[in-house]
């Protein structure tokens, strides 16, 4: 090759390991982890699916309404990547469908990489499910390329990942296609210098450049061999840099070398308690050294942490974990506070725990370079001070006692009010952008009671006012009692505005009629009639 002449001593022998259907494997493994009941963080629906989905049942992962990956049994029924969900379900009626989560792929590939690193050093992740290793060292150590590949497959089988395949060739491109080549053997070795021959019958679509592949097909070039036979200078003149690069790939001259990943530093800290502790303040005290060590490690790695996960194990085998966010970055005292809040729940500091605590582990979930969090020369001023003050109140009352508010969507006042603990990310489930027919007309009431107070509304004859299924009132409101104590006369009223929410779901359905009533002093109230009972939801004051 003219272009890579001086420093390039031919492509490097490379081992590529490929786990077919990795997204499916990862999803099944994460489901089985949640199915054991240890991790409470998974929603109930996932664990329900976990029970329903066995390793061989058809499963598809959906990304943006299309099938992203599917299991082998689903593929047998005709499901393939890129189908619409509806069509995939039509082809395979007992298909279980899950949302695709790329984070799960990456997270579950980590133990695989660790296992490989114990077998042979210097792994490069090409993508979750596929990784490359330089072949020279392992081949010499294990006494041959095939032996090295067998060791690799053994390591994966030990993890319970079956069906992985290995390709060994010159350069990662050829090696990957060797691993993916359809054949019975799990190991495919392309001899040194044989890459061009191996690739020659493959379609041009494998180059990973869809527009170039289309053009080549229209020019009558269908295989990599035909493309490779073109003169390199002509290809570069016609298709530029990127064309020349893929032309080299088609010739089996992959100039990329394996770049071993840098093994991430272990940043989590844990503390074990022997004998186990049964008081929260003792645990919090015991975690002080842990928190100091945790923060010190981060600072040594020139990092700060903005989100941590705390895992607590108790004597009886209970396992609780929770993620905590921080609006700025965690200090040691903040970490201790989070441990305490997690144990405490809504109880007080000196309350006991249900089962004695044996160990606490703090894992950094998201870290950032310390330089981005350095205070300016003049300090960051007010917000920093506000945060410290509010954190102090949180340490007095508990994490959830200091809140900020976000207005969300929804029909009822309670739905629209979302309170978020200070430092947490707001989780608004209902969007304000949607119209929400049936919501109250403006102005919004200034006082919204946390829980509706029992109330009473009677008509002129002194009979309680009620509403029938068609929304007709049994009488006109004449007097009412918004607090259940004093009786006021109605000077003006409006309503009923009936909402009938989620009637298809017995657990969350709600049918209620709202009324606005004004008493003789000019005070206005929002009353709700639900299940023949009146309640005061809000006051316009």
């Amino acid at each position: 090759m003219r272009r890579v002449g001086s420093g390039f001593a031919g492509p490097e022998r490379t081992i590529v390991l490929w786990c077919p259907d990795w997204p499916i494997t990862a999803a099944l493994r994460s489901l089985s982890a949640s199915g054991t009941g240890l991790r409470a963080s998974f929603p109930a629906s996932r664990s329900a699916i976990a029970r329903a989905v066995g390793p061989d049942s058809p499963l598809a992962l959906i990304d943006a309404g299309l099938v992203f990956a599917c299991s082998a049994s689903a593929r047998r029924d005709g499901v393939k990547r890129g189908l619409r969900v509806r069509e995939a379900q039509a082809r395979c009626p007992d298909l279980a469908v899950l949302d695709y989560d790329s984070a799960v792929d990456i997270r579950l590939f980590e133990p695989v990489l660790e296992a490989i690193e114990q077998t042979m050093p210097g792994v490069q992740v090409l993508r979750p499910g596929t990784c490359a290793v330089r072949a020279r060292g392992p081949a010499r150590y294990y006494g041959g390329e095939e032996e090295a590949a067998l060791w690799l497959l053994d390591a994966l089988d030990a993890l319970g990942i079956h069906g992985a395949r290995v390709g060994i060739a010159d350069g990662p491109f050829t090696a990957e296609h060797a691993a993916r080549s359809p054949q019975r053997q799990r190991i495919r070795i392309v001899p040194e210098g044989g890459s061009a021959v191996f690739l020659s019958e493959m379609p041009v679509g494998l180059l990973g450049e869809p527009s170039l592949a289309t053009l080549l097909r229209r020019l009558g070039i269908r295989t990599l061999g035909e493309f490779a036979r073109l003169d390199a200078a002509d290809v570069e003149a016609r298709f530029g840099e990127s064309g020349a690069r893929v032309h080299a790939l088609a010739n089996g001259l992959d100039s990329r070398s394996v770049v071993p990943r840098v093994v991430p530093e272990e940043l989590d800290s844990s503390a074990g308690f022997e004998p186990p502790l049964d008081r929260i303040d003792q645990v919090a005290f015991g975690c002080r050294a842990l928190a100091d060590r945790f923060i010190e490690q981060l600072i040594r790695a020139k990092l700060v942490c903005t989100s941590i996960r705390i895992e607590v194990e108790s004597e009886s085998g209970e396992f609780s974990e929770r993620s905590w966010l921080h609006p700025r970055s965690f200090t040691a005292a903040d970490v201790v506070d989070r441990v305490r809040w997690q144990l405490q729940g809504s109880g007080s500091i000196d309350s006991g725990v249900s089962s004695r605590i044996t160990s606490v582990r703090v894992v950094p979930e998201s870290v950032d370079a310390i330089g981005n969090h350095e205070e300016g020369l003049w300090g960051t001023g007010l917000d920093e001070r506000v945060h410290h003050g509010l954190s102090r109140v949180q340490s007095m009352l508990g994490h959830g006692a200091v809140v900020t508010a976000v207005v969300g969507g929804g029909r009822t006042l309670g739905d629209r009010r979302n309170l978020v603990a200070w430092g947490d990310r707001p989780a608004v489930t209902k969007s304000t952008a949607e119209p929400w027919p049936g919501q109250l007309p403006t102005p919004s009431p200034g006082t919204v009671f946390e829980v509706a107070q029992p109330a009473m509304v009677i008509d002129a004859a002194g009979v309680a006012v009620d509403i029938d299924d068609r929304g007709t009132l049994s009488g006109l409101p004449a007097q009412f009692s918004p607090d259940g104590r004093t009786l006021r006369s109605v000077s003006a009223w409006a309503g009923p505005w009936t909402i009938d929410e989620r009637w298809w779901d017995a657990d969350t359905s709600r049918r209620a009629s709202r009324f606005q009533l004004v008493d003789e002093t000019g005070a206005a109230w929002l009353l709700v009639l639900e299940n023949h009972e009146w309640g005061t939801e809000a006051r316009y004051d």
């Binding site: 410290h388 919004s444 316009y540």
Partner: protein, 266 residues
């Protein structure tokens, strides 16, 4: 001049100003008394910390000193919307606001009134530690709304007052408060837009009365709270109820300025 001196003597003899002023009703001396009282207030005000925080003009003109002062407490008589009207000015100007012990604070209405929810912090249930929490919040936030549990003890009131003065925070108390700078209350509330089984609540006119601790006649004004666009402003017709002459002299043309402000803002 001699008349003025007599009045001064009167005032110092009786200690209290208002009874003295009441006995001098309907005479030219009365205006002199009010003028002098205003001057005394102003002179007293300069000796104390008189920095005011931005307040909506419709309410600022009723308050002693022409706005919410830093480091003092105001008492608001059970009205969330009046409270929000007071908070809206400081919040729009960039202050952080805190609400302690008022779990039923309507955040949606607060947002409509112009309070920035990102700078609004709520502590709905301070429980036993009400005083400590309010003091800690007042340390860091500019304006704090609180509702004391039952009756706050005198010692806790004075400790909190000292803390406020030191930190320059403004305290708005829902309910009575012994050392409040002024007491704001609502009366004669009239809702419009609602009939007998028809329409819905759309706007309210209400009389806001401010009685200040320094004495003097309570000032009041008729406000839209809220108006049909969920804002608050003064009622257009110049029928201001019971605004004293000192008020009119001190703030000539305020009414027009207020309207100008609104047209510009709208």
């Amino acid at each position: 001049m001699s008349v003025a001196i007599d009045i001064f003597e009167c005032m110092f003899e009786y200690g209290e100003m208002s009874p003295a002023a009441a006995t001098l009703d309907a005479s030219p001396t009365r205006s002199t008394v009010e003028e002098l009282q205003a001057r005394i207030r102003q002179m007293q005000a300069t000796t104390l910390d008189t920095r005011t925080i931005p307040t909506h003009p419709a309410i600022a003109r009723l308050l002693p000193g022409g706005g919410l002062k830093q480091g003092v407490a105001y008492s608001v008589d059970h009205s969330s919307s009046l409270l929000m009207a007071l908070l809206a000015g400081p919040s729009a100007a960039g202050s952080w606001c805190g609400v302690v012990g008022v779990p039923e604070f309507g955040v949606e209405a607060a947002e409509h009134f112009g309070i920035d929810l990102e700078r609004l912090v709520l502590v709905p249930h301070p429980g036993e530690q009400w005083l400590g929490v309010t003091a800690a919040i007042a340390d860091v936030l500019g304006v704090v709304v609180t509702r004391p549990p039952q009756r706050a003890s005198d010692s806790s009131v004075s400790r909190l007052t000292a803390r406020l003065r030191q930190r320059g925070a403004t305290l708005l108390v829902l309910g009575p408060w012994p050392q409040s700078e002024a007491m704001l209350s609502l009366s004669e509330s009239n809702w419009s837009g609602i009939g007998q089984g028809s329409g819905h609540l759309s706007a309210r006119q209400v009389t806001v009365t401010v009685s200040s601790r320094a004495g003097g006649r309570p000032r009041s004004a008729r406000l839209w709270l809220p108006d049909p666009h969920e804002r608050f402003r003064e009622v257009e017709r110049p029928g201001l109820v019971g605004v004293s002459r000192v008020q009119n002299d001190t703030y000539p043309g305020t009414v027009h300025e207020v309207h100008g402000f609104h047209e510009a803002a709208g």
